[in-house]
Point group: C2
Chain length 478, copies 2
């Protein structure tokens, strides 16, 4: 189905769906079922995943032997070649598919408060921060300017050009940890991350000379969180929560002046690679079910929860099927995406390269919310597809992955172009209460992944993927 | 009482105590009681502390306006002058008492793994670490050497000179977080900290060229913990837990080589100051009760839990008595010690300066275990003194500070010379489950202190101190 047809169909679909729902409210349709063969296969795959250390060993290699894998780096290249070789070892048909991807180098990042109320003679205070990706560089010797602190865009607007021009602006907007511990980490993230995305532009428009945010994430260990930001022609960085609080507190008492040095380099895009590995379908090799995670990571940590975990549980799906000699009826496609973090070059290239076969993409799964216990799935798909997957509850009950939630948007950023083309999209709902404590920090390391949780994730991914490749009917789509 | 008399008396005391215990086992002695006047005073002081933000505001100033206060730094000097001025404001008699204290500057600290199994071409891996105080400096350009990993002193000994000479040795000995969450944080610390104290010496003796430890502390946020170590003529540092695990994991697979740069400077000792502030006793001004914490901190954080909190709750004791117009019968002496962290110059100078009046020191309290909820007290004192304090239970029950534990050693390192001279020593037992997550790290900042917990600590300190200054009988001593 081509994209331009989608809108034409949407009104009709809406009508049909309303009718369907109305019908449901009177007479429930018969519950869908899986064949005994499929159920047996799913149980075997689930149990194999729950007792396998394949994903863990792959994650060890990606995070500890290869290490941080920022797009454009030798480590990202080595990781792509490694995943390709591992998939070939399993007998998959593998392509390294080129994509223009970002190439960004952090450089130096440091700051000190050089004037502030109550300052001891001849002293400064160190400010812990991390450059964010849209930052311009300061001169090598840094810049020195007064700091103004705001807590939302309205306060910035109220200050106006007169009070912002020539200043360093800090947005001290906390990530709401209370939401996170209550299971609403992504809501908390969404509320705060807008200042990382758009803060620098707003500051630049009023003549501010640098934009600082409070790191978007939880935990209180003086740990800054990096991430993507829209370039605005001025330096931009994220302070550790403790340092944002310090600056805010001191600025409330009086005059605060900062010396700031950030020397990131935005280099020309380079050719990077998505790893695309197919386990060909026995009956419908042209029909494709994608399992995926992104291989690139930020540079500060080692990319364990974001998103080595997503890659290795996708690899594990192929490994389990091969080990159990379960041939998928449709093609299982493992994708390790490149450059999710800093531009999405990998997923854009895939959508372009595979434009001709998107109609044959049955569904796309991406895991990119960590490696916490999998509670179930976010699913962006029509109600009929949602319903067709209900028998999975019984299979996944022992894993604890029975929450099926309808998603309003793509449940993964790399599969977004596919979802926008009408392909059902699925993301795993991981226990995310601690995800943003480590997300985009130096502490995103192997030890943050619990081996048992990782096995559960591999089970959830493999069971969902096998359902999509081996059910009698392809998943309904819009 | 002079120290040389103590031993003569000790055998006699032991006999008397045995007799006392024997008597107790038959007929319990009458429970000690406090006068109504003292009980009323204690309740008033307790309630005033529980509703006061004095300690909090002092802690804000020390940690945020002054900041890190390493011994020998301008901040340490500014902090001493600040505390002295604040105590003078309250009407206390204040002296800045000179002490020869350490002067240590961290310098540069960085490390990379330059060779390791599975390494991607043209890449290294960053190792996060913090220099520890006994470290020698590497050349400015660093050193490069193979790394060997051990997990205890026996493994090091077994390796012998042949396998250690010319190498960098890593002791990967974890702080046992399971003990910490179960309330045994200091036991966990004690087991691991010996490698910080003595590791470098053991390595140097076998010809090793640098000694690394795993940071002694909990939490997993890529956060190194600094601290004191005995100088051994070689560079020495503490790796973040994640980095110790990485090196250990890679070294188990094959050859690991590290480039290490540490450029600390151990400068000549300088004159620093203990702040000694007296609220003179109305009846026995010559009898002294010490309340104290240490004003110096490590340089990485801002010295909130270690030990700004101890200083400000000591200051609060004086503030509450003055505010409530409660004149102590004995002298209340507030001490803010200098250089607890890196040599103890402050407490040594005090013991020397005040040698002539130690016999008149009734008791010494130090708070140096953070600002967690106060559960009670460690007390190094004879059983009769222990017993005399039992009526405090009723006063402290609303605070939750009713655990009185006999201490085998001095319950605070600055009061150790006093305790060794026979003076009863008291430390507050704080909830320490998270103390070593932040201890000696960059994350020891104001936000780690809960204002309510701090008020409770001020209440516990003030109630204990007032009991000691105003009870009819001075606390029995050995």
């Amino acid at each position: 189905m081509k994209k331009r047809n989608l809108k034409t169909l949407s009104s009709l679909c809406a009508l049909l769906l309303c009718a369907t729902f109305a019908a449901w409210s009177q007479t429930p349709p018969p519950a869908p079922t899986f064949s005994k063969e499929l159920r047996d296969q799913l149980q075997a795959v689930r149990d194999a995943a729950l007792t396998s250390d394949y994903a863990w060993h792959q994650l060890e290699h990606l995070t500890e032997n290869i290490g941080p894998r920022p797009s454009g780096s030798p480590q990202a290249q080595a990781a792509a070649e490694y995943v390709a070789a591992e998939m070939r070892k399993l007998g998959l048909e593998v392509h390294l598919e080129p994509a223009q991807v970002s190439h960004w180098i952090r450089g130096e990042e440091k700051a000190q408060l050089v004037e502030y109320p109550g300052q001891a003679p001849q002293t400064t205070q160190r400010i812990v921060l991390a450059t964010i990706s849209g930052s311009s560089a300061t001169p090598a010797e840094g810049i020195t300017a007064d700091v103004v602190v705001v807590h939302n865009f309205d306060e910035l607007t109220a200050l106006g050009r007169e009070k912002v021009a020539g200043k360093i602006v800090l947005f001290n907007v906390p990530y709401d940890e209370r939401k996170a511990v209550a299971g609403m980490a992504f809501e908390a993230y969404g509320e705060a991350v807008v200042y990382r995305g758009r803060g620098a532009k707003a500051v630049a428009e009023l003549g501010g000379i640098a934009s600082l945010i409070r790191s978007v994430g939880g935990a209180d260990y003086r740990l800054p969180h990096t991430g993507y930001s829209a370039p605005a022609g001025i330096p931009a960085a994220a302070l550790a929560a403790e340092d944002a609080e310090l600056v805010d507190h001191l600025a409330a008492q009086g005059h605060v002046r900062m010396h700031l040095t950030l020397t990131p380099q935005k280099l020309p895009d380079v050719t990077g690679y998505n790893v695309v590995a197919d386990l060909k379908g026995s009956e419908h090799p042209e029909q494709i079910v994608v399992v995926s995670g992104h291989l690139d990571s930020w540079d500060l940590g080692r990319g364990a929860i974001d998103d080595g975990a997503g890659v290795v549980i996708s690899m594990a799906t192929a490994e389990i099927l091969q080990r159990l000699h379960i041939r998928p009826r449709r093609t299982l496609r493992v994708i390790a995406w490149m450059d999710e973090e800093n531009g999405g070059g990998g997923n854009q290239a895939y959508a372009k390269t595979h434009a001709g076969e998107l109609a044959n993409h049955i569904a796309a799964i991406e895991s990119d919310a960590g490696a916490g216990h999998p509670l179930g799935f976010y699913m962006k798909m029509p109600p009929a597809a949602f319903t067709a997957l209900q028998p999975l509850h019984d299979i996944l009950r022992p894993v604890g992955s029975t929450v099926f939630r309808s998603a309003e948007h793509s449940p993964g950023s790399d599969i977004e172009p596919l979802v926008e083309a009408g392909i059902p999209g699925i993301g795993i709902i991981q226990d995310g209460r601690k995800y943003f404590d480590y997300h985009h920090t130096a502490a995103d390391t192997l030890d943050k992944v619990d081996p048992h949780d990782l096995r559960e994730n591999a089970a959830a991914m493999a069971v969902m993927a096998l359902t999509l490749t081996n059910s009698n009917e392809a998943l309904p789509r819009q």
